[in-house]
């Protein structure tokens, strides 16, 4: 007798040995038995099919034994499965849910809104404008001559930037952050101030950040002390 045939034969005889021995039928792993039947196919197809069907029949006997065992166990607890099913069938959904509530201890948790949901709420209440609706800051118009004035960076511009920084930092003491648009203004010094801000942020003296919820660009003090902030390129 081959090893495969021997395995299938053991499965076929299992319910008989089991019934003699008695005990908890759940010690038999039905899934494992099914896997074994699947793995032990023989070359002789006819014989293999015969033995496989006999083995499956044995497995079904074990499952039946397990089911009976559970029913007996429930009856031992004075709970009849059929009665339970009938009761559930006769009750409406609300009644079942209310009974369930008496025996449920659900885990507690505070639900936190995501930033995206907060933005949707702010947009709904009209506190911020939706994405794409906000008017852009516009492009700073400058001529080639104006640009060449600043490159390479003159010592004079650096001094001017530091004077601008003193003024800006005194304003930042009162307010934590100032709107970028407020700082650069709309007069003829706009371009020069934009360069000062770029210079100061690139040297880490100020930080420029974009509020992802409101879409505003804000100027503040460096986040982790001097010379540690990063310059944010502005389009």
């Amino acid at each position: 007798m081959s090893r495969k045939e021997d395995t299938l034969k053991r499965i076929i005889e299992l319910p008989d040995t089991f019934l003699i021995r008695g005990g908890d039928p759940f010690v038999i792993d039905v899934n494992n038995l099914l896997a074994q039947i699947n793995q032990n196919r023989m070359k002789d197809q006819k014989r293999s099919l015969n033995m496989e069907s006999a083995a499956l029949n044995s497995v079904s006997k074990i499952i039946k034994e397990q089911q009976d065992w559970v029913i007996d166990a429930l009856r031992g607890l004075k709970l009849d499965p059929e009665l339970l099913r009938q009761k559930l069938a006769s009750m409406d959904i609300k009644k079942i849910a209310l009974i369930m509530a008496n025996h449920a201890y659900p885990s507690l948790g505070v639900h936190r809104l995501s930033r995206d949901r907060i933005r949707v709420a702010l947009e709904y209440f009209g506190l911020v404008e939706p994405w794409g609706h906000k008017e852009g800051m516009g492009i700073v118009q400058r001529t080639a001559e104006q640009v060449s004035e600043f490159f390479p960076l003159e010592k004079e511009l650096e001094n001017e930037a530091m004077m601008f920084y003193e003024e800006l930092s005194s304003n930042l003491k009162n307010k934590k952050e100032i709107l970028y648009e407020e700082v650069i203004g709309r007069d003829e010094m706009r371009l020069r101030r934009a360069f000062y801000i770029a210079y100061l942020s690139s040297t880490g003296r100020i930080s420029v950040r974009r509020n992802s919820i409101t879409g505003e660009t804000l100027i503040g003090m460096p986040l982790n002390g001097d010379f540690e902030s990063l310059a944010i390129p502005l389009g």
């Binding site: 009665l83 339970l84 409406d92 849910a97 449920a104 201890y105 659900p106 885990s107």
Partner: protein, 192 residues
Amino acid sequence: MAILRVWRYHLAEENASSDEEIKQKADKVLKLLLIETSSLPGMKGWELKKHVGKEYTGAIKVAAVQAEELGMKIAVVPDEEDADNMDKARFVIMPKEPLSDLELSRWMRVEEVAALAIIISEITIRGGGVQVQAVERLLVTKLPKWRVNQIISKLKRLGYIKEENGLLMKDWRSKLEIDDTGLIREIVTTKE
């Protein structure tokens, strides 16, 4: 003698600060466990360790006392494959008392709670596992088919039931949060 007194003073100071530190860590543990960061409640031990430090188990013990005063308890759900490893266990805050009918709708929708009760009863009757189709047949007597599928998926996602080899079984949240013996007894003994 004076040196000894100073040394003792420092020691007392050190203990006081470490107690305070543990209390702060316990507050942090409570906050972390209460604020949901995913669809599943609570946090794994390794996540708490990351936020609170190596002594997170001590902080959990203090947090459990604080939770007790608020009518809650901290439950530990061991990892299925590595039951002794606290880092892999999940820590969850639960109420000490069961829900009242007013709180029911805040947990899940009424039909979802009822479906869970039916599924748990059927799983218990059948000794731990029931075929998905059998559950669907039971639930369609009370709910539309499309809703039944939705509810089964939701209960799986929330960790109340799991499917293995076509059989539905109780998952960790059902085992932790539901007193199934009490539930079945009350269903059977309720007068129509």
